[in-house]
């Protein structure tokens, strides 16, 4: 399914025969609860459609669409059908313009989405100015947020993205012994830089005399890492930490395998789980530490919801879902639950401010299990990382053993400063 125009997309979201050019789902009108308007509730979505990170944006969009189909089949939110209005997330400047369009032109009730840190940092202040709730999928590194969104009222930020670097840093000494020298490679923007800084800070707490011998930051979108790999080989570290999270993770894995990079060193891929099913066994060795962010598709302890989602996703797209689906599902599901919670007290469709109040502290069942919004508008969830293995029935790697770490321990508490907090741990 490749919805090319928004109109086409709305038809799909309706998941049924449409009425006219505007897609109305197969929910009979007039079933809205008392105090609730009968026209559809418009939800704006910002998703990456093109470029190296397109697979991740696509995962988020697919997760959202799956949710919409289910919810609309069950009658919508309080009987109101859901209508998605999708815009592309690209550069910060252009995405801000589209965000504004969603609110001013399309008059959406809430905007959901945003993956890349550069974009979400630009959107934060705009969300506050436009006074419409914005639930971010991903992409808010906490250092930047301190400057741009210190006390958000309308913006709901993703989990601190350095958490995966923190978890990876804690697991590294557990699984890899005798590490003395480390090299790092990440994308050249705040996420890549902040992850590296965080990983270094965490590792130093466990291995005080570790030496960081090389750091490389190719731009997001580069497809040729052969020179970078050569530089890494020259530096001869014991371990390479890589925070790539989209198609470039697959590329670097392939190019590394072509020269046997990981035959001589350990590898930590904090976030490559975002493209996990493209990490084929042919070029992805066993024994790497691999992070799947908040959702691991093959979790043996996974809920029936997760299992059903994975099954239907595979049947529809012939791919296995990645963590962005979970962020997307959580965001839009929490919106629904918040609306219903606010309705329960006011018996009217809640205003945007009432939705915001209801969202704070709310906990819902997401694909990966229970997730919640902290009072300071930050997501709380679990993180999954593990050691790659070829012992499975797929043509790509999975992880065994699976480490599950909660943000309760791996994310800095509200109001704390990241590096100070790390340095204050009791080891």
């Amino acid at each position: 399914m490749a919805a090319t125009t928004r109109r086409e997309f709305l038809k799909v979201a309706g998941a049924a025969a449409t009425v006219g050019a505007v897609g109305f789902p197969a929910v009979a009108r007039g079933q809205a609860k008392p105090g609730v308007p009968s026209d559809p509730v418009k939800i704006g979505v910002l998703a990456i459609r093109a470029g190296i990170a397109a697979p991740v944006g696509q995962a988020g969009l697919r997760g959202t669409e799956w949710w919409v189909e289910r919810v609309n089949k069950a009658g919508g939110i309080l009987g109101r059908p859901v209508q998605l209005v999708v815009e592309e997330e690209s550069t910060p400047k252009d995405t801000v313009e589209r965000y504004r369009k969603l609110i001013l032109q399309d008059k959406v009730e809430v905007v959901i989405g945003g993956i890349s840190t550069g974009v979400t940092l630009a959107l934060g202040p705009v969300a506050e100015e436009m006074e419409v709730p914005w639930l971010s999928w991903d992409g808010t590194t906490q250092k930047g947020v301190e400057e741009t969104m210190p006390n958000p009222k309308w913006a709901f930020r993703s989990v601190d993205n350095e958490v995966e670097a923190i978890v990876a840093g804690q697991l590294t000494p557990k699984y890899f012994k005798g590490i003395k020298t480390v090299a790092g490679i990440g994308n050249d923007y705040s996420y890549g830089h902040d992850c590296w800084e965080t990983y270094q800070a965490v590792l130093k707490r466990y291995i005080p005399d570790v030496k960081f011998v090389l750091e490389l930051f190719p731009k997001l979108g580069v497809t040729d890492f052969t020179s970078h790999i050569a530089a890494i080989q020259q530096a001869k570290p014991d371990l390479l930490m890589c925070s790539f999270w989209s198609g470039d993770a697959t590329i670097i894995m392939k190019q590394a395998a072509a020269v046997g990079l990981f035959k001589g060193m350990k590898g930590v891929f904090t976030t490559a789980g975002g493209v996990h099913d493209s990490l084929k066994k042919e070029f992805t060795p066993e024994g790497l530490l691999l992070g799947y962010n908040t959702m691991y598709f093959d979790d043996p302890k996974g809920s029936p919801l997760l299992k059903q989602f994975v099954r239907e996703y595979k049947a529809k797209y012939n791919e296995y879902p990645a963590y962005e689906c979970d962020h997307a599902y959580f965001d839009i599901e929490s919106y629904r639950v918040a609306v219903e919670k606010a309705y329960a007290t006011t018996k009217k469709w809640p205003s945007k401010a009432e939705v915001v109040k209801a969202l704070e502290g709310i906990e819902v069942d997401s694909l990966s299990g229970k997730r919640s919004w902290r009072a300071d508008h930050v997501q709380m969830c679990n993180f999954y990382q593990g050691v790659t293995t070829h012992k499975n029935g797929y043509d790509f790697v999975t992880i065994d053993p699976i480490e599950v770490v909660s943000t309760k321990t791996a994310m800095k508490p509200a109001g704390a400063k990241l590096i100070e907090w790390i340095n204050g741990w009791k080891i």
């Binding site: 490389l216 979108g221 050569a230 080989q233 198609g247 590329i251 072509a258 020269v259 493209s278």
Partner: protein, 286 residues
């Protein structure tokens, strides 16, 4: 060594650029888009081949053929669009190629979607060898060898064949060549198609090592531009040496001082344009 692989690909694209510029005096901005088109076509060709039971070990053949076939789009472009502006100011010709860049980028998206496409693990199908103490994928060596062969083939064609002589004559003095009875329309069509094919082939050959994205041409064109400026506009030897310079320097820059990377290349381009505008091998600047 990675630098040489990149240089081999750059050479193919730059050679296509040089051929077109030398004869038609048009700087084809769309050569980067041809690169992208060749990449996607190559992937489709390989997928078709392996999907119908072709042995993965032979994937290089459908890849290269797919790349070359994509080059035929050059004929369509030349006959359908470019020939209307041959008598115009070169600014307009340049802008038409820019229009092509825009159109091709979206056409690629329309046809193949927006997610990056790859040939999976086929890159490693031929294994590696140890060269000068480093492991080098055999595929890289195949591409470098192919590129060298094409370079030699181009050289041979230009100096020894009738077509090559016509190309050089047309490049030197179009009016004279026409006066001597050369059918410029046919020459232009063939030259442009050949130039496009070199670009699409380059795109197809690079793909196993990386991934195809619809914007891959936009980035490459600036590198190709650097190659032809350094090598000298219109010169095949210039394309060869220019590609080596750019490919290897970029590779070295990343190892030494990563911030520099392309910055170094652009500074060299400016330096060349200021002090020796004709580059290494180009004709003296007008």
């Amino acid at each position: 060594m990675g630098g040489v692989f990149h240089a081999a690909i750059l050479f193919l694209v730059a050679a296509g650029l040089q051929l077109v510029f030398g004869v038609q005096k048009i700087f084809n901005l769309a050569c980067g888009s041809c690169y992208a088109l060749g990449a996607y076509t190559g992937i489709s060709a390989v997928a078709f081949f392996t999907g119908h039971g072709g042995s993965p070990a032979l994937f290089v053949i459908p890849l290269a053929l797919g790349g070359l076939a994509a080059g035929l789009v050059g004929l369509v472009v030349e006959r359908g669009l470019l020939r209307f502006v041959y008598d115009r100011d070169e600014t307009f010709q340049l802008l038409l190629t820019f229009a092509l860049v825009l159109m091709l980028e979206d056409l690629i998206r329309l046809t193949w979607g927006t997610a990056p496409a790859t040939t999976g693990g086929l890159y490693l199908a031929y294994g590696q060898v140890r060269l000068l103490g480093a492991a080098v994928p055999v595929y890289n060596l195949i591409v470098i060898a192919a590129s060298l062969a094409i370079a030699l083939g181009m050289g041979f064609m230009l100096t020894r064949t009738a077509f090559g002589r016509i190309i050089r004559a047309a490049a030197d003095n179009r009016e004279m060549a026409e006066a001597l009875g050369v059918d410029m329309r046919s020459v232009y069509a063939r030259v442009f198609t050949l130039g496009t094919m070199l670009g699409t082939l380059g795109g197809a050959l690079v793909i196993p090592a990386t991934a195809a994205m619809s914007e891959m041409g936009i980035e490459l064109i600036v590198e190709a531009f650097a190659v032809v400026v350094i090598g000298g506009l219109g010169s095949m030897r210039g394309a060869f040496l220019g590609a080596l310079v750019v490919g290897v320097l970029r590779s070295m820059a990343i190892s030494v001082y990563p911030e520099l990377e392309m910055l170094l290349i652009y500074l060299i381009v400016i330096a060349v344009l200021l002090w020796r505008p004709r580059g290494l091998f180009g004709a003296p600047a007008a």
